[in-house]
Amino acid sequence: MAITEEPPLELEAGDPLPEYAEQPLGVLTRPSGNTGIASWLFTVDHKRIGIMYGVFAMFFFLIGGLEALAIRIQLAVPGNDFLSAETYNQVFTTHGVTMIFLVIMPLAAAFANYLIPLQIGARDVAFPRMNALSLWVWFFGGLFLCSSVIIGGWWENAPDGGWFNYAPNHGVAFSPSKGIDFYAIGLQITGIGSLVSAVNLIVTCLNMRAKGMTLFRMPVLTWMLLITQFLLLFAVPVITVALFFLMFDRLYDANFFNPDAGSDPLLWQHLFWIFGHPEVYILILPSFGIISEVIPVFSRKPIFGYKVMVFSGIAIGFMGWGVWAHHMFVSGLGPISVTAFSMSTMLIAVPTGVKIFNWLATMLGGRLKFNTAMLFAVGVVSMFTIGGLSGVTHAVAPADTQQTDTYYIVAHFHYVIFGGALLGIFAGFYFWWPKAFGYKLNERWGKWNFWLQIVGFNLTFGPMHILGLQGMSRRIDTYSEGFGFELWNLVASVGAFVIFLGVLIFVINIFVSQRQAKHLPPVGPDPWDARGLEWMTASPTPEHNFDEEIEVQQVDEFWFRKYDIDDDGTVHRIATGDEVAQPGTATGVHLPAPSYWPMVLAAGLPFIGYGLIYNLWLCVLGGLLVAAGSFGWVFEPADDPDAHHGGHDDHGDHDDDPDTDPEAAAALDAPEGADDVAIESEEAPVG
């Protein structure tokens, strides 16, 4: 497969790549080098892309978190006027949108990008440049969304319709600022990023696996991420339709959601939630995957019921499509729809419960080491359960008529998203940090991080259950005295600051640990005595991932190369991780070359967005960037043709002058790999 064995070039993997020759375009040279800012901006390396997803998402997390703090300050006491109603509505809308689309989704994408190729033993994803494109499209889309806070006045022009932005309140008549245009266009842009990345990762999972890595030997995390990508693949177009309708309504006076023309506002709700419910599983499944990797390692046991874990994930992904109207129980659907959706929603508790029990069974009888990663993982098991159980109470449709749009719902989804998705992602941070950066995060700080976060989290969102049941509506910029809301709101506000402190400690921990690591021995490839293929190479992961292709024979291949199980069930070490792992020092590995074009292409999109909102000339500029990006892209071989390496010249296409049209240029270099690392092989042709 994608692994090079023979060193065709005298090149150390760790060394900077050689200067690239001028490209056929004649104007621009190909980006080169693997240090410095440029090497990050133009990289197509899935690991760097993964890290950038993470860094950018943390930046947005800070924004979304500060917005959350503003909400909590406003609601700390009744009748507060820290934020005006106008600002408040924008703040909670951008908080929701930022957290969902710019924090949790990309954090999951960070893990997907970094880990999928490693876990299946591949060199890179199927289409490395498309991977870079997804990152930049998403990131520029995110900046575009956030820019609405500044453009046209500080907090005057941000979306203000709530994250699900119901019709017809999202129309120009009711929301005359440009905010909702930003919402409609920004989410389309980030949606393109998600879609491209979904296609890419699906192909990667299905097609780039190492020898012997059958689907049912893939780690649970890879499985969950694969399911997530399928959900994205099919869910993104649905919201795209809704957003197009909205955009046409707002910009060109179409009549999709205009009740005065007899349109049905519920169309938006259906489309939004057909996307939106799969979306919530898009948020949670990656974390389910992460803790399925962490818990076995720190229990010293294999995951309990591997196949059941996989199938329950598939079941969740599948059933997630049939429940969307549980967000619409009070919208005025007929009784049959409400009953059907109520029942289908309840069923989802079953596969999710199966997962919970399997994690517990994995821990049962194990040797549990509660370091920070494990604490976060176990935190997910208990905290997510709270959120899931409140979800079940919403699924009871008559009861939901009392609960919906109150803080009880706010409590539910923060428990599943913060207590499930986000805690899981933190578990992942602590777990894979040494793999990505070559040093472990400090445990003392880590424990402070965990405990502050979990205590703050329960202080913040626990009381919201009570508030909701006491009848406090959500999305209210203030509340009156006398309804019994004062105490718990204050508690929640205090809790939010505790969370802030917790996350801050995480950030500090990064720097503290980095500094301490200088005085510590290197972590080695396998600091946790772990199980997946990603630990079978040096830490931090070398640019080429693996020195040679790994042939996989079972689930947890790496572990079984270290340990043997006797007939009586005792475990024997046969090798250390260091011995089994590849040194990561292979030379001459041919890698896809960096490229400017994904970035250029992606940069065009926000301009088109601004153009649609403000001035069509900007669209022209954006269109030109997109065109330049795509033409540059197809002119440019995915691979650097000048980085010749033996054994490939016999394809003999190089004498053609590749300066003509895109198809030809790409096609002629296709044998070099096109955008496809699968054909990167130096092995003998398959025959």
Binding site: F234, F256, S630, D656, D661, A667, V686
Partner: protein, 216 residues
């Protein structure tokens, strides 16, 4: 059209990145399938949800014409039948182009690719004509939910066809310059997949939007 542009970009990408069909070079992935084709099919699967949404929007509003013209009043079935037929035939020429290139018959390949693009262009021309005449008869984009949904659905389809024409013309020119070799048959095939898909969508639209306007 931010979205469709980039989506199609992606299609182009998948198409160009195709690799040689020479046996021996061929390095399939774990499944024995080419990455590009798999990507294209995944993308088409996703497109089903996109067009499904647009069509549902139309179905919901098809009878809500407010004070504007109704569907049955305004559709010109004979005219649309002709352009549907044209688009259908372009699928034939597309597949003939693929067949020609797998045989290594490059002149034919070019001929069929160009014919396909032309037929597509005729279809688009017909749509432009149809839109303008509807507009003159009082069916503007903002007239009614029906008109908005109709124009949006057929417009999206038209944009897809146009992107297909751009891809076909790139294929044509690369073939003219001798860059489209027999090994690149998969590129043609992938563009073809996209093209047929767009045709299939029209088969749906023609029946459900146009012909059924009489009945429901």
């Amino acid at each position: 059209m931010v979205d469709s542009e980039v989506l199609d970009e992606q299609a182009v990408e998948a198409a160009d990145a195709s690799h040689s069909a020479k046996v021996g070079d061929h390095q399939p992935g774990s499944t024995g399938i080419s990455n590009q084709k798999l990507a294209m099919w995944a993308f088409l699967g996703s497109e089903c949800l996109l067009f499904g949404g647009l069509i549902s929007g139309y179905l919901l509003y098809r009878n809500n014409n407010q004070d504007g013209p109704a569907a049955a009043e305004i559709f010109d079935i004979p005219f649309t039948s002709v352009s549907s037929f044209v688009l259908l035939m372009s699928s034939l020429t597309m597949v003939l182009a693929l067949s020609a290139i797998t045989r290594g018959d490059h002149p034919r390949t070019r001929l069929w690719i160009l014919t396909t693009a032309l037929l597509g262009a005729v279809f688009i021309g017909g749509q432009v004509y149809e839109f303008t005449s509807f507009y003159r008869e009082g069916l503007g984009y903002t007239t009614s939910p029906f008109s908005s949904a109709f124009f949006t659905l057929t417009g999206f389809h038209g944009v897809h066809v146009s992107m297909g024409i751009v891809m076909l013309m790139s294929l044509y020119f690369s073939s003219v310059r001798g860059k489209l070799k027999t090994e690149n048959a998969e590129t043609v095939e992938i563009v073809g997949l996209y093209w047929h898909f767009v045709d299939v969508v029209w088969i749906f639209i023609f029946t459900v939007v146009y012909l059924m306007a009489k009945g429901i």
